[in-house]
Amino acid sequence: MDRLDELEAQSIFILREAVNRLQPIGMLWSIGKDSNTLLWLARKAFFGRVPFPVILLDTGNEFPEVYAFRDRIIREWGLTYIDAPCPGAEETDPSLPPKARAAARKTLGLKRIIAERGFRGMILGIRRDEQAIRSKERIFSPRDATGGWNFRHQPPEFWDRFNAEPPPGGHVRVHPLLGWTEIDVWRYVEREGMPVVPLYFARDGRRFRSLGEKDITFPVASNAATIAEIILELEASREPERAGRAMDHESEDAFERLRAQGYM
């Protein structure tokens, strides 16, 4: 087994644990490369049929290419789709920096949909290598009733014996891609021939490396117009993946605070 085989097998194992032990469960689908990969892995794990709803935390602010891709994939893959509208920025924590407040809208949308549907489990496509704070995450990560993440008292997790017991009134976040790196995802996309949103490919010397909403995500300079070129570019690059995500860089602890309050 090569590295991608191992990652795939581990993610499938995690998805099957999650579905067996946490019901009802849903999956956050941002329609970016990571959550698409997660969806692809779910199709493998469950032999073609995704056995849970996929949820877009919809601010109405995604790129049009993202919405178009979403509609196509729902149809072609036969997904059960939930559109979870996000409250306006005025409802978010006013002490956060402005871009982080825009991002915090998703936190509120997520809390709302979890409460509404009574989800006990939520599958997310975050990775440890994306961001230093995410590197601390557990694969099965409990959230209390407020959705908050208590990073100081994370439960021990070892030997793949995940604790699938949500705290009272809370839920468990499941992170099957935690051990993947950005380049792993692209190599897997290439190997599997998976579709991705065309915004990842360079046009006029720029491409999106990480996809967020249109007003807080910016393209990076790049000429990579194919998956193979993206992989080559990443192998040579030392730029952090989320360099184009404004909310990470407003202040030293912006992202940590977002996450402590329940952000993805």
Partner: protein, 620 residues
């Protein structure tokens, strides 16, 4: 793509420079993202400290303020020959949980020792845990040589101490080397400050570590995660933890002890494979409709896991409340989940002093050797032989309270007890033997026939004993006038014939309970020897007669239901002791005198009798 990365854990005492070492390694390898080194300089300046490489890892604001790592962090190092996943295990003493979770996945370890402080409590504890976790590839780095003027004698002294300590634990370090993480001495390049050191650099040492040998060549273990319905087929899914399998293989499922052949391997968006190996998540269909659930382990017949409901284990106790004998917990091993009782605590090791501690309780952060008993048979392996099916976690109230490594020494395989000798491929529903029921319940089935005058205390004792036994995990049930007369014997009155029939039926029902593996306690006056003899005949060896003795005077004084008063008043005909005889047992298994002994003492006597007569001894 290269082969699997080496998983390396970095351990050592707090502030000995673990995170600094990793941060500096990232810098040396050119692996810090653009701007990170500048950001670190800026942050360090803002805080008025010298450049702190560990800030590359300690991303949490809270951590920077405390300047200690508060959780395991994973960092990728890309060496030209291989990738290394570095697991940064925290140094603070209360973080054993993170240490175990970090180091449990590792294949090699770096033990960091501060040259000015030398081996400290944490250094020793971590080294000890590495040994318990089975990690043998260890390099010791003596850090901060710059603080001792790159002194060779100081280094030699520490090297000797480290080697000596590790030798006591049965460990031999692959390498001991002097470094200065902050300044990069002996990391990527040989240090000009330590010309007296001629050995390899840390980077060279890392390259020499070996990735664990392949799990594919070990015996097959496929723990079943779930069963999916695909059209009209049942697809068993799971991850192969060791070994390999292929279409046509005969699988033995444990603990149910059923056999079936693999009909197909399933795949989506790919041609169905014919074979699969350790590490793969698979789906299989069988050649016959077998009822197999999550928790079963599939193996080949000739190399099956052990079946046992008793196991010795080394436990890492992580909960703030202590572990004591008799405690009931959930055990999760592979995909199985079972209720267990802590039967005994054999040894407690204080990870601070590394000396033996008292064995009455296991405190947080202690390591203990314990004996656990499960009701259900567990399929498991010796940890040293097959780690993935030989290690488990314990949970209480939904929280993970311990990690454990199973050791099966002294415990014979109980597969014979399951009943089916898997010699041919004819599926047979297994025959449940008395022995397998006993093994499930942890005790033999039996009848405790309480006999004595009305008011002697039969019902009170029966209920109290039942409650105690139930708490201790016994399968136990009381038959008394109330629950028998209301249903089973609802058609019987109080004529002499009906009383005989009443006791006959109770005797037969009690015998059935005993046969089902239960301890059945009966609380009936049952005054006649012939009636009790008949009940003994029905129950056989399992029948124990317990004479609850109290003199008439005492019983009449107690008179809990006012029956004596009514009998004296002539309202009840043929009342035992007043107007009808009571025939005391001639050779009861136990006599309890409730006139002289308080109730608690009486309960205790009965419980002792039961433990001696019906419990299965802990040593098998």
């Amino acid at each position: 793509m290269t082969s699997a990365p080496l998983r390396l854990v970095v351990v050592g005492h707090v502030d000995h420079g673990k995170s600094t070492l990793i941060g500096r390694l990232l810098h040396e390898l050119g692996a810090l993202p653009t701007g990170k080194a500048d950001e670190l300089r800026a942050v360090s300046e803002r805080r008025g400290v010298a450049i702190e490489w560990s800030f590359a890892l300690d991303a949490f604001q809270a951590e920077r303020d405390q300047a200690v790592t508060i959780d395991t962090t994973r960092v990728w190092l890309r060496l030209p020959e291989r990738d290394i996943v570095v697991i940064d295990a925290p140094g603070h003493r209360e973080f054993l949980a993170n240490m175990v979770s970090g180091a449990a996945e590792a294949e090699a370890a770096l033990l960091v020792v501060d040259a000015s402080e030398g081996m400290q409590e944490q250094t020793r504890r971590h080294a000890y845990l590495l040994r318990l976790l089975g990690l043998e590839q260890i390099a010791v780095v003596v850090n901060k040589l710059d603080l001792v003027d790159f002194s060779e004698p100081r280094y030699r002294e520490l090297e000797g101490a480290a080697r000596h300590f590790l030798a006591e634990l049965g460990l031999t370090p692959r390498l001991v080397l002097p470094i200065s993480a902050r300044h990069g001495d002996n990391l990527a390049l040989a240090s000009a400050n330590m010309p007296w050191y001629q050995g390899p650099t840390l980077m060279e040492a890392l390259r020499a570590f070996e990735v664990r040998p392949s799990r594919e060549d070990l015996p097959l273990r496929l723990p079943i995660q779930d069963v999916y319905r695909q059209d009209d087929r049942r697809v068993l899914v799971g991850r192969i933890e060791s070994g390999r399998l292929g279409v046509g293989d005969t699988l033995l499922f444990s603990p149910s002890n059923k056999l079936a052949r693999i009909k197909s391997l399933e795949a989506w968006n790919a041609p169905p494979p014919a074979r699969a190996v350790a590490g793969q998540s698979v789906g299989i269909t069988l050649d016959r409709p077998l009822f197999v659930e999550r928790g079963e382990i599939a193996s080949h017949q000739e190399s099956a896991p052990r079946l046992s409901n008793v196991l010795h284990a080394t436990l890492f106790w992580l909960a703030s409340t202590p572990l004591t004998a008799g405690q009931r917990l959930r055990l999760e091993i592979a995909t199985a989940d079972a209720a267990i009782t802590v039967e005994s605590i054999e040894r407690v090791i204080d990870t601070d002093s590394l000396g033996p501690g008292p064995v009455d309780a296991v405190q947080r952060d202690q390591v203990a050797e314990v004996v656990l008993r499960s009701r259900a048979l567990l399929a498991l392996d010796e940890h040293g032989h097959l780690p993935r099916t030989g290690r488990f976690v314990l949970r209480a109230n939904g929280e993970t309270v311990a990690g454990g490594l199973a050791s099966l020494r002294d415990h014979p395989d109980q597969r014979h007890a399951v009943g089916l000798a898997p010699e041919n491929l004819t599926p047979v529903d297994h025959k449940v033997t008395r022995a397998s029921r006993s093994e499930r319940f942890g005790h033999r089935g039996g009848i405790l026939w309480l006999t004595g005058l009305s008011g002697a205390g039969k019902s009170t004792l029966a209920m109290a004993v039942e409650q105690h036994l139930f708490r201790r995990g016994y399968a136990v049930y009381v038959l008394d006038g109330d629950n028998v007369r209301s249903g089973l014997n609802a058609n019987l009155g109080f004529s002499p014939e009906d009383r005989v029939e009443n006791i006959r039926r109770v005797g037969e029902v009690a015998a059935l309970f005993a046969d089902a593996g239960f301890l059945c306690i009966t609380a009936f006056i049952s005054p006649y020897r012939t009636d009790r003899a008949r009940a003994r005949q029905a129950g056989g060896d399992a029948f124990h007669e317990i004479y609850i003795r109290a003199d008439l005077e005492t019983c009449e004084r107690r008179d809990p239901k006012g029956l004596y008063r009514r009998a004296r008043a002539g309202e009840i005909a043929e009342f035992t002791g007043i107007s009808a005889p009571y025939e005391p047992p001639e050779s009861p298994e136990l006599v309890i005198d409730t006139t002289r002994e308080p109730i608690e003492a009486c309960v205790e006597q009965i419980l002792r009798h039961i433990a001696t007569s019906f419990a299965i001894t802990s040593r098998m």
